[in-house]
């Protein structure tokens, strides 16, 4: 069996004396949607940072398409095909939606070939960006500056911008935070559509249990920096260890009914 496209093996991250992530291994293949859940402070975001190269690791390795990328800086990992969104939105606030999307298309080329910075901005990216904007329903906002848009739209712009860079694996950091129930459901549809149509792999950290259970094929559960369970949504919902750690005994999936 071939190795999954993205593998993080035995990742250890320490902050001073605190071990934030302790020998955690996760993997995502193309076309697959995988979730990471766990209570606050479980080390989810830190693990994300370790995979993306924004947090230094004490041990472990990250492999993308068979190449070890653990020592690479974040921008090089991005060029190699790791995309991301942020829990706290990181848009280019003074740019329009169109410019944000177009920059997403251009950025990997500009990063890999810095001399192109001196070329004129030719807007080669326009077609891709327009197509994606149509898919995500962003057309009415294309020429508006992102800073003034409602949060649901901004989340979609960030997602679209990451897709424009044509990642092979996309890491989503709490994509539903700040969204209402309807928006969250729509967002889930967009994620599912993206994995189907472009065969990218998605790894998401999420609080919203209904979103994770509905779109993820596999789920990892972190607690106190350790991996305590992994499996299909059904297995995770049944697991007594997970119930104990995550919900203090209550059944998983019950939260969205209340």
């Amino acid at each position: 069996m071939p190795e999954p496209y993205l593998c993080a093996d035995d990742i250890v991250v320490r902050f001073g004396g605190l071990t934030a992530v302790d020998q955690v291994s996760v993997s995502v293949d193309r076309g697959e949607t995988v979730g990471i859940i766990g209570p606050n402070g479980a080390g989810k975001s830190t693990l994300f940072g370790a995979i993306l190269g924004t947090v230094g690791t004490a041990a472990g390795s990250v492999t993308l398409a068979g190449t070890k990328i653990s020592t690479w800086p974040a921008h090089r990992r991005a060029q190699a095909g790791l995309g991301r969104t942020f829990q706290k939105l990181e848009l280019f606030g003074s740019m329009t939606v169109r410019e944000n999307l177009e920059f997403g298309t251009e950025a990997p080329t500009l990063g890999a070939r810095p001399w192109r910075l001196l070329s004129r901005n030719r807007h080669v990216a326009t077609d891709d960006a327009a197509l994606l904007a149509a898919e995500l329903g962003l057309e009415p906002y294309l020429d508006q500056v992102t800073a003034s848009l409602p949060i649901g739209v901004r989340r979609l712009v960030e997602f679209g911008r990451a897709l424009c860079a044509r990642p092979s694996i996309l890491l989503l950091d709490e994509p539903s935070s700040g969204l209402d129930e309807t928006e969250t459901r729509q967002f889930a549809d967009h994620i599912a559509h993206a994995t189907r149509s472009t065969s990218i792999g998605v790894l998401l950290v999420e609080h919203d249990m209904s979103l994770v259970l509905s779109i993820c094929e596999r789920i990892y559960v972190l607690d106190f920096g350790k991996l305590i369970a992994s499996g299909t949504p059904a297995e995770i919902q049944r697991s007594p260890v997970v119930r104990e750690a995550y919900l203090g005994g209550a059944a998983l999936g019950a939260t969205d009914d209340s």
Partner: protein, 621 residues
Amino acid sequence: MTPYLPFVISGVVVGSIYAIAALGLVVTYRTTGLFNFAHGAIGMTVGFAWYELRADLHIPTFPAIAIALLVVAPLMGLVVDRLLFRSLSEASQASKIVVSLGLLTLLQGGVAATVGGATKNVRPFLPQHAFKVVGVFVGYDQVITVLLSAAILVGLLAFFNASRMGLAMRAVVDNRTLAESAGFESSRITGLTWMLGVMLAGAAGILFAPLLGLDTVTLTLLVVQAYAAAIFGRLTSLPRTYVAALVLGIVGSLLPKFLSHSPTLLNGLQPSLPFIFLFIVLVAFRRGSLRELGVSAPWSGTVRTGTRGWLVIPIGLLFATMVLPASRVFSLGVAIVLACGLLSITVLTGSSGLISLTQAGLAGVGAFTYLHLINAGTPFLLATALAGLAAVPLGIAIAIPALRLPGLFLALATFGFGELIDGLVFTGWHWFSGGGDGLQANRPSLLHSDRLYVLFLVGVIFLYLLGIRGLRRSALGRTLTALRDSPSAAESLGVNPLWPRLAVFSISAMMAGVSGALYAGLLGVASSAYFSVFTSLLWVTIVVVCGVESVFGALLGALLFGFLPSFFAAGTSATFTTWLAPTFGLAAIYFARRNGGLVAVLAKLGPQRWIHVERRAPAEV
């Protein structure tokens, strides 16, 4: 050992005073997340307050010190906290830097305009008699200074580690809301911190006064020694900062002993010591180990100021050059040259949000290179271009270690570098800068008259504006905007922040270098005084006040500082310029958080067809 011991002792004394200043800097930075470039200027102001109390009001020395440190300093601290920095807790790092630079310019310019530029000699106030230890005389004043400094360190450590208020101060910078919810009132805490910071700066200023004399420049630049030590403590550790300050003092004091055979090297090395220190730290520290404290929003994520109608500038200048009387044309030339220097800041800060504090130094390098080349018979245009290129490797050398790090460190490194150019190149290398008299060269015969030369300048500024327009439309321009709005998002899309930043920094350095050559060409002479680190600070202040996003801002500033004074009589003109600088310092504090500057204000009043300002709604958090 004995021949070195006296030097070590005086080094420890000087280092102890550095330490007092540096500890104050660390205390304010780590509690407020705001790096105070005006720390030295504040110490200088308290020092002068004490001097005036003693000299003019005839208050005896020690009561005067008590009033200066226990009344004046805390009041200043409160004012600084309430009026300037309170509203900045969530502003961008660039805004914070500009506010403290504005305060520096205000205090330095204001005190200099009030008391004059001459150094005041201050008679020692600590006991002068000495005793002999292992064959070396040690003064009681030296012992007192060292013990005082050590006591301050111990006191601060005890305060931060043991007291509830100290704990609160540490909590506030991490998370203001959380600290407040835990029952700490953050406004009281930052107020207290600023009082403490100003008192420490003032104490250092007063202790230095008998050693160095009191003048507005030396003590203002004390901040460079202080932050060189503080950065060694990663801007947060008090003990490491203290040790680094002592080492800095000792090395500085031992240098004359070791380099007595080479006064040139000594004269250059001594003032540049803090920069060398700083440079080593910037190169040596791993990426990520030097971080900015506190929240930093992007420089101006919400406003875009277009520069539609920029052609008005070269056309207007061309017209003015033709019709103005001969006596005014020269002043117009001064303004255009200044505009070129200011545009080098517009390019850098307006597009990337980065702040360089050595632009005038780079202009100086350009000016002297140009004069040497002309005197060696180089054709005039080639000399101008080469002068611009000469500034680039220098700019790059300083920028590379700093550009890996957050924006604050570029400001710190360039400030230190500006002082290094001042000390080593301009003052130290007489062969290069011609010493106090400067260097001379004739204008090319073709452009001998003022009017012809100024026409040439109009041509150059046209090229500058064309270049800026091209940059804004290039992929580089868009990448810089992206990096300014959100560095982490740009990186997550595959952009290596180093290349675009290095590119814009080089362009900016070249523009500064050429502006220096133009200055030298216009005046036929250049001396280092014009290119001091204070000129760099003033330039940044002018650009921020007049409008950093628009080329009209640089032009407006240049006309105000370069052209307007020529309309006053000689005496009035001097007064005007003297007071204009601190006024702009004050204005910079106001405009640091408001986009667009004076140009945007003017645009709203009138010519909106020419100066196009798009104002956009602020982001909700």
